[in-house]
Amino acid sequence: MPLEAGGMGKQHWELVQNYLKRYYFHDSKTRVKINFEDKLKEMQKFFGLPVTGILSSHVTEIMQKPRCGVPDVLE
């Protein structure tokens, strides 16, 4: 489903938002609105998935795995 679409439950959407905020860096000082589609593309690129900006079950499966707390993409 498209990332910005409202077709997912609140809990699911929060999982996606929190994951991308936490592990795909953005500078909160710039006050630029986070483009979650771009962040999702960064994640897809990092994990070697097709870079679509579209949320798939494979992506959410990765997001639910136990992992290290260090971000994947840093600036």
């Binding site: 990765i62 992992r67 290290c68």
Partner: protein, 170 residues
């Protein structure tokens, strides 16, 4: 593999570490053994020596903690985030923290394998960031591996030797 921005690394070839606190899941002697093994996995590829100290400030301070533990990166209970570590540097730089809410194991029972996780976190302590290679110990998600044949991947070795050179440079 990837390195942290600015490529931080240790400039001394003797790095000290100290275990500040332990998990209740494993005997302290096992944690000590597994940490020594994790350090050895890295030091067998690079010209660095790791020396354990028992008091004072070490380069790499290792601890188990739960939830908020004073570094602005609170843990989140069982599952999800297992641990984190900081790139080489002063102060908190190099320190490795493990979530005490996980069920840590030495590989003999189910749970989170402490050796794999420690080897991953010490990779951060030495200057490696996350790798996209699923075979790399620096891959960000936890994967249960074959304990007997556990070793660094070529990706890990290339990454760490880019920072420190190889053991032949000793």
């Amino acid at each position: 593999y990837s390195l942290f921005p600015g490529r931080p690394k240790w400039t001394s070839n003797v790095i000290t570490y100290r275990v500040v606190s332990y998990t209740r899941d494993l005997p302290q002697s096992i944690v000590d053994q597994l940490l020594a093994k994790a350090f050895n996995i890295w030091s067998s590829e690079i010209p660095l020596h790791f020396k354990r100290v028992h008091w004072g400030k070490a380069d790499i301070m290792i601890s188990f903690a739960r939830r908020d533990h004073g570094d602005s990166f609170p843990f989140d209970g069982p599952g999800k985030t297992l641990a984190h570590a900081f790139a080489p540097g002063d102060g908190i730089g190099g320190d490795a923290h493990f979530d005490e809410d996980e069920d840590w194991t030495d590989g003999s029972s189910s749970g989170m394998n402490f050796l794999y996780t420690a080897t991953h976190e010490l990779g951060h302590s030495l200057g490696l960031s996350h790798s996209s290679d699923p075979n790399s110990i620096m891959y960000p998600t936890y994967e249960d591996r074959d304990s007997k044949n556990f070793r660094l991947s070529q990706d890990d070795i290339k990454g760490i030797q880019e920072l420190y050179g190889n053991v032949d440079n000793l």
